[in-house]
């Protein structure tokens, strides 16, 4: 149900753009904003990017299915059909583009947070006694620049926080 509401919300954007006859810039802004607002939601729903992007084709198909019925049923002009096509199709492409950008950005942030948490856990500073701690350097995996810098920074921060005078470095 949640996903259907998200989809309906997305469709509302097209309706509003046409109803309010928004210019291209305002219409694109509306969809860029939508991309930013939904990135977290889609990531949290565990919807893979490729699956989410497959929806674009279906939105195009079913939006046009309704439009076709309404256009034929009301004998709307051919100019209107072309004009609506020129509005809707680029917006769908832009929505897919904005969504991809936001999705990748959110995913990158999530990875950075996970990496940071992993570093904290993999290189612990353990207090042994008053004023003394042991610092275990990583022995598993590759030591890249970030992983090499982390022990130096963390040792100083921990020394300040835990007020220790002696630090045993476990190599």
């Amino acid at each position: 149900m949640e996903l259907i509401n998200i989809r309906a919300h997305f469709i509302i954007l097209f309706g509003e753009v046409l109803r309010d006859y928004l210019n291209e810039e305002r219409a694109l802004q509306k969809f860029t904003q939508w991309g930013k607002e939904t990135e977290e939601m889609f990531c949290n729903l565990k919807v893979p990017l490729d699956e989410a992007l497959k929806d674009t084709k279906d939105y195009r198909t079913f939006l046009w299915k309704i439009l076709k019925e309404v256009i034929k049923g009301n004998n709307l002009s051919i100019d209107t059909v072309f004009e609506v096509g020129e509005i809707i199709d680029p917006l769908l492409d832009h929505a897919a583009y904005s969504f991809s950008l936001s999705y990748v950005h959110f995913y990158q942030l999530t990875l950075e947070r996970a990496q940071s948490a992993f570093l904290e856990l993999s290189i612990p500073v353990v207090p042994l006694a008053k004023g003394m701690a042991i610092f275990s350097l990583p022995r598993i995996g590759n030591i890249d620049t970030e992983r090499a810098n982390y022990p130096m920074e963390e040792a100083l921060k921990s020394a300040n926080r835990l007020q220790f005078q002696r630090l045993i470095v476990d190599l």
């Binding site: 109803r19 699956e51 279906d58 198909t61 079913f62 709307l76 004009e83 509005i87």
Partner: protein, 34 residues
């Protein structure tokens, strides 16, 4: 023409849940087939 486009916008708003449901059901069918 502006009125006709506005009219189509209203119709999209009116049928938003029908469109959303069709998209949703079609995606479920695709995923099931895969």
């Amino acid at each position: 023409m502006k009125d006709e486009i506005g009219f189509l916008g209203d119709k999209i708003l009116e049928y938003r849940f029908e469109i959303a449901n069709e998209v949703h059901e079609n995606r479920i069918d695709d995923i099931t087939e895969e």
